[in-house]
C-alpha cells in the first residue's frame, strides 16, 4: 500500500502470483510399514489437497495443494495435459481449463483420473498394477449415487485400491475442531460450510448407542424425540430401518454424531459466484480494461481486499460520504497499456471535434463551389462567344464550333446557355451566403461530401490532425493517464461477499445463508434448536472474509428468541481443516476388521459402487440399487435396476457378459436381508 500525496489513498497493484510446480516426493518407509498408510485427499472444486495419514511428524501436514483444473490444448495428446500447479498462470489458458466438477459434484471422471494420477505420481507411488494404500476422499453432501458409483469404480477398478472411505468436508472439519478443543461428546451443532460453488447448512445430531434384546442398536436422536423410532440394526449395517417402541430412550450411552441429512440445505451461492459477480461489475464500470479484469485478479481482490459488513445497510450509508469513499476505496493500479482511451473523451471535447470537422467540411464545400462556379463561368463565356458568332452571321464558324461542342442546333445552344446562366447565378449567391452565415446549411453540407470520394479522404487526414493536438493535452490535469489505468474498487469490496446473505443481488431466488439457517432450525423442536444453536460452526474457504463471524452472530441474535444463548465458532484454518479432519479420522479409524466407514473391495463387488459405509463424518446412505451404465463397446445392455425394500426381498442384478476390464459385478448377486 503506497501512500500518495494529499489525503491517504491506497494505490495497490495486483500481485498476479504465479504458482510453482509441485515437487515429486519420495515414498518414505513409514508410509509402507507396518501397513500401507492411507492417503487423504480433499477433493474440492476449488482446490485439491492431498497428503498422508501417518503419525510421522514430517508427514503430518499437507503435501499437495493445487487448483482442481486441467488444461489441454486442442489436438495435444492426453499425456500433455497440465494439471494444477503445473500451470503457472491460469489466465492465458482460461478457455482451455477444465474441471472434473459440475457445481460441487464430480461428473467428469477422465479429469478425475488425471488428477489422481497427478497426486499419486507426486506422492511417489510407483507400485505396479495397483495403489496399495487406502484412500480417504471427500464428496458432496448427499452425493448422487451415480457419481459415487463412478468414483468407486475408478478407484477400485483402475487403481485397485484396497479400501475407500467417503466423507463430507464440512463434517471432517467439525470433527477436527472438536478434537482440537477437546470437547466432550455429544457433539451436536450446526455447520455452515461455504465453499467455491455451494454453501451448505449441515445439522449434526449426536447419536446414542442403545442395547436392547441383546442386540446393539444405534438410535437416532431425532427419531427418539419424534417417537417414531426408526432404528438401525448395528449388526447388519445399512439394512433398512424397522420400527421399535420408544423404550430406546431409557438405555442410552453416547458414542458419536451423525449428520442429520434430512434437514441439510444447500445454497447455490459461494466463491465462484462472488468472483464472477465482481468481474462483471468491474468490467461494466471500466469497459476499456476488459482484458485486464481477469478472474484470477478478482480472486485476489476477494481474498485480500473484501470484507463482510456487520450491518449491510449501515455500512452502505457510510460509503455515501465522499471522505469515507476517498479513504476506503482501493485503487488497483493496472500496468500501462498504451492504447488511447477512445471512449474516454469528455462531452465537450467530442463537441469540439465535431465542430472542427464541420468547419473543415464547409471549407471543402466552399472551395468546390468556387471551382464549379469558375468552370461554369468559363463554359458560359465560350457558349456566349459561339452565340455571338451565330448572331454576327458567321454561320460556318458557328456550325464548326457547334460540332466541337457536340451540339446539334442553335436551340440546344440557347437552352444550354440559359441553364449555365442560372447555375452561375446560384453559385454566386451561395458563395455570398456561405461567407456570411455558417452552420445554417450544415445538414445539406453533410450530404455533399458523401458523393465525392476526395472529401472523405480529406476528412480522414483531418481526423488524424485532430488526434495529434489531443495528445499534447495529456499533461493537463483534466486527463490523468495514471488514473485512467486504475480500477476504483469501492463498494464492490462489500457487495460481493454479500451475495451469500442476499442472493437476490445476483438475481438468484434462493434464500440466503442465514434465512436458510432459520428455515432449517424451524424444522426442529425448541430444545433441539437450543442444542444446535449453541454450537454454530463456520468452515470453508468462502467464510474467510473479515467480519463474517460478527455478521453471523448478529443475524443469529436477530432471529433467535430474546435473550437465548448461542455460540458461533470458526474453524481454525477454514480452508484446510477438512483435510486435517479427514486425516485425524483416518488415524483413529484405521481400516481393519471393524470396517466402520471403510468400503473394501469385496463390499464394492457385492454391494455395488454406490454403497457407502457410514461413519461420523459421512453422508447418510439410503440403500438403493442403481443401474450400472454399460460402456460404449458392449453389445446389448441388460442391466435391471431394482431397489432393496424392507424385510425379505431377494434381489438379483444381472449384468450382460462384458469385457473383463469393465465388468466387476459377477453374474448373479443375491442380497438377502434378514
Amino acid at each position: 500500500m503506497a501512500a500518495q500525496d494529499a489525503p491517504v489513498c491506497q494505490i495497490i497493484s495486483f500481485h498476479d502470483s504465479k504458482t510453482s510446480p509441485d515437487p515429486f516426493f519420495e515414498l518414505s518407509p513409514q508410509c509402507l510399514n507396518p501397513t500401507p498408510a492411507p492417503i487423504v485427499i480433499d477433493n474440492g472444486s476449488f482446490q485439491t489437497r492431498a497428503g498422508w495419514a501417518t503419525s510421522a511428524a514430517e508427514l503430518s501436514s499437507l503435501l499437495l495443494q493445487f487448483r482442481s483444473v486441467a488444461a489441454r490444448s486442442r489436438g495435444a495428446a492426453r499425456s500433455e495435459t497440465q494439471i494444477g500447479n503445473d500451470i503457472p498462470n491460469l489466465e492465458p489458458l482460461r478457455w482451455l481449463l477444465k474441471s472434473q466438477f459440475d457445481r460441487n459434484v464430480v461428473v467428469n471422471f477422465e479429469i478425475q483420473e488425471l488428477i489422481f494420477d497427478y497426486i499419486f505420481t507426486h506422492l511417489g507411488i510407483n507400485s505396479e498394477g495397483s495403489v496399495k494404500h487406502p484412500i480417504v476422499l471427500t464428496e458432496a453432501p448427499c452425493n448422487p449415487l451415480h457419481c459415487r458409483q463412478m468414483m468407486s469404480e475408478l478407484l477400485f477398478e483402475c487403481y485397485s485400491v484396497p479400501y475407500v472411505s467417503y466423507g463430507v468436508d464440512g463434517l471432517y472439519s467439525f470433527y477436527h475442531n472438536n478434537a482440537q478443543r477437546k470437547q466432550q461428546p455429544p457433539h451436536t451443532g450446526i455447520i455452515l460450510s461455504s465453499g467455491y460453488h455451494c454453501s451448505h447448512i449441515l445439522p449434526v445430531i449426536n447419536s446414542r448407542q442403545v442395547t436392547t434384546n441383546g442386540q446393539l442398536l444405534l438410535c437416532d436422536f431425532q427419531s427418539c424425540v419424534l417417537k417414531s423410532c426408526h432404528l438401525k440394526c448395528f449388526k447388519y449395517p445399512n439394512t433398512h430401518q424397522f420400527p421399535l417402541k420408544k423404550l430406546c430412550c431409557s438405555v442410552l450411552c453416547d458414542v458419536n454424531f451423525r449428520l442429520d441429512a434430512v434437514n441439510c440445505k444447500r445454497v447455490n451461492v459461494a466463491g465462484s459466484q462472488a468472483s464472477s459477480y465482481l468481474q462483471r461489475l468491474l468490467q461494466l464500470k471500466y469497459p476499456g480494461h476488459l482484458s485486464s479484469i481477469t478472474l484470477s485478479r478478482m480472486e485476489e481482490l476477494l481474498h485480500e481486499h473484501s470484507y463482510t459488513a456487520v450491518d449491510y445497510h449501515e455500512e452502505m450509508e457510510k460509503w455515501r460520504s465522499p471522505e469515507f469513499y476517498e479513504r476506503e476505496v482501493h485503487r488497483m493500479q493496472l500496468s500501462f497499456s498504451g492504447k488511447l482511451p477512445s471512449g474516454c473523451v469528455t462531452a465537450e471535447e467530442r463537441q469540439e471535434r465535431r465542430a472542427q470537422q464541420l468547419r473543415r467540411l464547409q471549407e471543402i464545400n466552399a472551395r468546390r463551389r468556387e471551382e464549379r462556379l469558375q468552370q461554369d463561368q468559363e463554359r458560359l463565356d465560350r457558349l456566349l462567344a459561339v452565340q455571338e458568332l451565330w448572331e454576327d452571321g458567321l454561320l460556318d464558324q458557328f456550325h464548326r464550333s457547334l460540332v466541337e461542342l457536340n451540339m446539334d442546333s442553335a436551340e440546344e445552344l440557347q437552352s444550354y446557355i440559359k441553364k449555365l446562366q442560372l447555375a452561375v447565378e446560384q453559385g454566386r449567391q451561395k458563395l455570398l451566403h456561405s461567407d456570411g452565415v455558417e452552420g445554417k446549411t450544415e445538414g445539406l453540407e453533410f450530404e455533399q461530401p458523401m458523393d465525392e470520394g476526395d472529401g472523405v479522404a480529406l476528412m480522414d487526414s483531418d481526423f488524424f490532425e485532430d488526434m495529434l493536438p489531443q495528445k499534447s493535452n495529456m499533461a493537463q490535469p483534466s486527463f490523468n493517464m495514471a488514473e485512467y489505468h486504475q480500477l476504483f474498487v469501492g463498494t464492490e469490496r462489500l457487495r460481493c461477499p454479500e451475495i451469500l446473505f442476499q442472493p437476490s443481488l445476483i438475481g438468484e431466488e434462493q434464500m440466503g445463508l442465514m434465512e436458510t439457517l432459520q428455515y432449517v432450525l424451524a424444522r426442529y423442536t425448541p430444545e433441539q434448536q437450543e442444542a444446535l444453536v449453541s454450537n454454530v460452526f463456520l468452515t470453508g474457504g468462502n467464510i474467510q472474509y473479515p467480519g463474517m463471524k460478527e455478521r453471523i452472530e448478529r443475524e443469529l441474535l436477530a432471529m433467535r428468541p430474546f435473550q437465548s444463548h448461542f455460540k458461533v465458532t470458526m474453524a481454525s484454518r477454514p480452508a484446510l481443516d477438512a483435510w486435517y479432519g479427514a486425516r485425524d479420522w483416518a488415524l483413529e479409524h484405521p481400516p481393519g476388521e471393524a470396517l466402520e466407514g471403510w468400503i473394501s473391495r469385496q463390499d464394492y463387488e457385492e454391494k455395488g459402487g454406490e454403497y457407502l459405509s457410514e461413519h461420523c463424518a459421512s453422508n447418510i446412505f439410503i440403500p438403493m440399487k442403481i443401474a450400472k451404465p454399460v460402456p460404449a463397446r458392449s453389445a446389448e445392455p441388460s442391466v435391471t435396476a431394482q431397489t432393496s425394500t424392507g424385510a425379505s426381498a431377494a434381489i438379483t442384478t444381472v449384468t450382460s457378459s462384458l469385457d473383463a476390464s469393465s465388468a466387476s459385478l459377477s453374474a448373479d448377486v443375491t442380497m438377502v436381508t434378514s
Binding site: L284, P637, S662
Partner: protein, 139 residues
C-alpha cells in the same frame, strides 16, 4: 471370478516394465491401462458420443429412483426460494436504491447516478440488467 481379476493384474505386472523413474511419456505404473470408464456415453452412443453426463442429466436420473418422501438426496436439499422480499440496490454503486429509471430499468440512488446511467451505451445497460437477471424476455 476373482482369479480372473488376479490373473489380469499379474499379467500387467509382466508387461508393465521396470518401474524406474517417471517420465512424462510413460503412463504411471500403478493403474490399469485397459480401464474404461463405464460412464462415458451410453449403450446407444457408440464410439462417437464420449461425453460425460452433466449434473442436470444426472439429477434427472436420480429423481427417477424410488426415493421415499423423507429421504435426503442432492436435489431435496436445495434451499427453497426466499420468503422475504428482495431489497433494492443501485446497479451502479450498490447503495440502497429508491428509484428506477423507466427507460433503462436500472436502479439508482442520486441524480448524479441518473445522469451517468443516461449516458451509458446500451451494451453496458444490458450488462447491468443481466447481472441482476432482470433482462426482459418479451419478444
Amino acid at each position: 471370478f476373482n482369479s480372473t481379476v488376479e490373473n489380469k493384474i499379474i499379467f500387467k505386472w509382466h508387461y508393465g516394465g521396470p518401474p524406474a523413474t517417471e517420465s512424462t511419456a510413460k503412463p504411471p505404473p500403478f493403474k490399469d491401462h485397459t480401464f474404461l470408464h463405464s460412464g462415458i456415453g451410453g449403450a446407444a452412443a457408440g464410439k462417437k458420443n464420449r461425453t460425460w453426463k452433466n449434473l442436470k442429466q444426472l439429477l434427472v436420473l436420480e429423481r427417477a429412483l424410488p426415493w421415499k418422501l423423507d429421504d435426503p438426496n442432492y436435489y431435496n436439499i436445495d434451499a427453497p426460494p426466499s420468503l422475504k422480499p428482495a431489497k433494492k440496490y443501485s446497479d451502479i454503486s450498490g447503495l440502497p436504491a429508491n428509484y428506477t429509471d423507466p427507460q433503462t430499468k436500472l436502479r439508482f440512488t442520486s441524480p448524479d447516478e441518473f445522469s451517468y446511467i443516461r449516458l451509458l451505451p446500451s451494451d453496458v445497460v444490458t450488462g447491468y440488467l443481466t447481472l441482476r437477471k432482470a433482462t426482459c424476455i418479451v419478444p
